[in-house]
């Protein structure tokens, strides 16, 4: 517990959404060397919902997100303790295969990062290396349609993904993640590099995708969290301060700290 927060906190009973859960974090601690980035976070993410992680810069929300598909493995010095269950299986147990986990838990990054190759290959590469046996043309079309990008790129599938605008690139990255047919999609501030109209498109897209996927989204934009998410988790200095249905977190927060943050008093 960080000094100074303790006395401010009121009711901290953990919020229990209704099962089944896609992701369940149990007392997760993550540290980079001696710097502790995530402290004792316990969080349940129900299937086919959108969960927003909010909080000021450096509060550990991106670190927590990256730990859910073991992308933190690539950060030097990152150490994790506790359990993260994906469909009841701890993804940090020794037998767990991080490659398989990342195949089932996709990720969309803050900065659009298409591969420097054609739009088509951007979509097909992931399925190809994972042994997809179906029809690749159909896969490309359905993925792009679901990412609301098909109409804009249908005629130029063999052109470079990098020739697209920033918003289109990010939707291409979402299409690339969808093409793997993952169970969960993690999004790390997917709209922070985009203009308002692209942001709106992606937000609408998220609401569509909820039917099929569980989405966990880190965002700095509280209006965005409010518009798209079913549940919101507020983190501060590595701790999960409050987690609950989005309306409750924004309208009637249990913690003073949450209230101050969502009302824009700091952050």
């Amino acid at each position: 517990m960080v000094k100074g927060i303790e006395d401010k906190l009121g009711d901290r009973r953990p919020f229990e959404p209704s099962p089944p859960y896609a992701i369940e974090a149990r007392e997760v601690n993550i540290a980079y060397g001696s710097r502790r980035a995530v402290l004792d976070v316990t969080l349940k993410v129900p299937e086919r919902t959108i969960v927003a992680l909010i909080g000021p810069s450096g509060c550990g929300k991106s670190t927590l997100l990256r730990s859910i598909n073991r992308m933190n493995d690539f950060v030097t010095g990152a150490k994790i303790s506790g359990e993260i269950l994906f469909r009841g299986q701890n993804i940090y147990e020794p037998e767990a295969d991080p490659v398989l986990i990342r195949r089932q838990i996709g990720m969309v990054f803050q900065k659009p990062n298409p591969f420097p190759t054609s739009i088509r290959k951007n979509i097909t590469w992931g399925p190809k290396i994972n042994g997809f046996q179906g029809n690749y043309d159909d896969l490309v079309e359905t993925s792009l349609r679901r990412a609301a990008l098909w109409d804009e790129v249908a005629g130029k599938l063999d052109e470079s993904g990098l020739a697209l605008s920033g918003g289109q690139q990010q939707r291409l990255c979402i299409a690339r993640a969808i093409a793997m047919d993952p169970d969960v999609i993690l999004m790390d501030e997917p709209c922070s590099a985009l203009d308002p109209s692209s942001t709106l498109k992606i937000e609408n897209l998220l609401l569509e995708l909820k039917d099929r996927f569980t989405i966990i989204i880190v965002t700095h934009n509280m209006q965005q969290a409010r518009r798209v998410s079913d549940y919101t988790a507020f983190m501060y200095q590595g701790e999960l301060i409050e987690y609950g249905p989005t309306d409750e977190v924004f309208e009637t927060p249990r913690q003073e700290l949450t209230r101050d943050y969502v009302s824009g008093r700091f952050g």
Partner: protein, 320 residues
């Protein structure tokens, strides 16, 4: 208004504060004493710098023109099919460079086969796989230092390691191994620099799709870094074509009347042949040396053009 107010974003900017700031700004504008643009001086500095860089370029070009001029004027008339197709001879007019030319080509080919996989492999390991530990940093510094070790030292190492311990003898293989050692550090350093320029987002994107590290490197990182890697590889191969000292050290022949047929055969290379001819007293051999230099330059030009061509193809394949 404290600094934390600013960073936390709670400060409210009232219109009186805006007015205050505007007034301050105007005050600064009204005291030109605080600004000394010295535009004339800056412009002169700019022109001087331009002249310096131009002079540096011209110096290099001039040296090259001088070299080419003297070599071409001496050696051009000596170039002929016979010159390329004859073995060296005591009689200057009959002397040719067949053995050296073939030796150089074989040596370069063998060096490429040995040095490229090991060099690029080491670079990929150090850049993509190795954890950032104390040991890796020690290795880093040592590799950079090895690139600066004089070539004769590699010759001595090659003599001991390949000629004696591995018992390759004074063979083409021993020469190729020695040359590979010589250029390995350069290939490693340049390949690592090329790998460093690959945006990290590309790696994360691939790994996030459930690719293994090897698939990520193979399909995205290496192709993206390939133009840079090729540049380093070709520059170091050119160096291998031109090096003489380490091969003299391991005992490459300076007179050879046959063409090496297997990697275990004796060999000679163009620079050795040129050195040999230019140290003879007769003028005719000097002319032969000049012609030999032309052939060597021709090979270097060919190798470099290949590199540029391949680099362009790779750059076009990457759709940046």
């Amino acid at each position: 208004m404290s600094e934390s107010d600013l960073t936390q974003g709670t400060a409210s900017i009232s219109s009186s504060k805006i007015r205050e700031a505007t007034a301050q700004y105007k005050q600064v504008r009204m005291h030109p004493v605080q600004w000394r643009p010295r535009r004339a001086r800056r412009k002169i500095a700019g022109v001087l710098f331009l002249l310096f860089t131009l002079a540096a370029t011209l110096l290099g070009v001039a040296a090259l023109v001088l070299l080419l001029e003297s070599v071409i004027s001496q050696g051009w008339s000596r170039l002929s099919w016979d010159f390329l197709n004859n073995f060296p001879s005591r009689i200057a007019s009959r002397a040719g460079i067949k053995a050296a030319l073939v030796g150089s080509i074989y040596l370069t080919g063998l060096v490429a086969v040995i040095a490229i996989p090991f060099g690029v492999g080491a670079a990929v390991y150090l850049e993509e796989f190795a954890a950032d530990t104390k040991w890796r940093r020690v290795i880093d510094i040592n590799i950079a230092n090895l690139a600066g070790v004089p070539s004769i030292v590699y010759g001595m190492l090659g003599l001991m390691l390949f000629v004696r311990i591995c018992a390759f003898g004074h063979s083409l293989l021993a020469g190729a191994c020695t040359m590979s050692l010589l250029i390995l550090p350069v290939i490693i350093v340049t390949s690592r620099e090329a790998l460093k320029t690959v945006p990290n987002g590309v790696r994360l994107a691939a790994l996030g799709l459930g690719a293994t590290k090897w698939q990520t490197v193979r399909a995205h990182v290496l192709p993206t870094a390939m133009p840079g890697i090729l540049t380093g590889v070709i520059l170091s191969l050119s160096r291998a074509v031109g090096e003489t000292a380490p091969l003299l050290m391991i005992g490459a022949l300076s007179y050879m009347a046959f063409v090496p047929e297997s990697p275990m055969d004796d060999f000679t290379v163009l620079p050795i042949q040129i050195f040999n001819w230019s140290s003879r007293p007769q003028d005719e051999f000097r002319v032969a040396a000049a012609a030999g230099i032309l052939v060597l330059l021709g090979i270097l030009l060919t190798v470099n053009s290949c590199a540029i061509f391949m680099r362009m193809r790779y750059q076009r394949k990457m759709q940046w």
